[in-house]
Symmetry: C2
Subunit: 175 residues, 2 copies
Amino acid sequence: MEVMDAIRKRRSIRSFEDKDVEEEKLKKILEAGRLAPSASNRQEWRYIVVRNKDMREKLAHAACNQSFVAQAPIVIVCCAETDEHVMRCGQKCYPIDLAISIDHMTLEAVELGLGTCWIGAFYEDEVKRLLNIPERIKVVNLLPLGYPSYEPSFTSRKSLEEITHYEEWEKRTPS
Amino acid sequence: MEVMDAIRKRRSIRSFEDKDVEEEKLKKILEAGRLAPSASNRQEWRYIVVRNKDMREKLAHAACNQSFVAQAPIVIVCCAETDEHVMRCGQKCYPIDLAISIDHMTLEAVELGLGTCWIGAFYEDEVKRLLNIPERIKVVNLLPLGYPSYEPSFTSRKSLEEITHYEEWEKRTPS
């Protein structure tokens, strides 16, 4: 599948088929995340692959009771082992680097016929307690992964004109 | 180009051919960024497309004198118009959402034969001053865009085993 097709086809999937994800496909998805670029090649991403149903239900509860999180056969708990380095621009590396890696995984998932959903609404302390995650580690995102049971319509987006400026902030059309 | 091929082929490009980027290709890249998902569909990304050579040189200077930034025929200055909303997990939305959108652009660039480089080493105040960016806006990344003049070798990555855990933090092999 072409990159742009994957980008166009990607949806936030909130209902999954009762069908397991093949180990080979999971490996390809983790590989896509592994190959991501990061600031000074820090590679702060750490992924916990949760297949256990009881644990997925506990994670769904920790994710503000979003029950579809447990319905997915896999939840990838996306963590950062980080020194919290701040770049010259003032941004911390780890949220950006984790997002690059997770985005790689979400697009590769589309290529493999799978669906994901970025979940930021969860209680980090509770997720860390459930999975015995050390204090020093950050949990950045929960990523349920499975075969979509439906095809949601595309959520609207601002137009290119609304998000693009030219040469300087105030200039909204190209020269 | 398949998603995984684009992921494998992507490099941080720090030298560019003296060749302009076609408007049509630029549009496709911005479109890839536009279609990204974001927390509650906030779409906080705003992109300033800088083609002016003098300005690119000033941006390169603001980017800690990384001269290749000026060599690229386009620098996309990646900004966030943000309410700095914090998700339940404790992370701010905007750095993650911007990174998703920018990652989309970097992969679409590969598909189109173009190269990019994530630049976080820059003085934000100076970039804002140069481009008349309002105080409330964050500048998250500079993204030079152009035709690569070389093919860098792939930077090494940790192994899948080093970054993957199973069922809980301490478990390093699948069941």
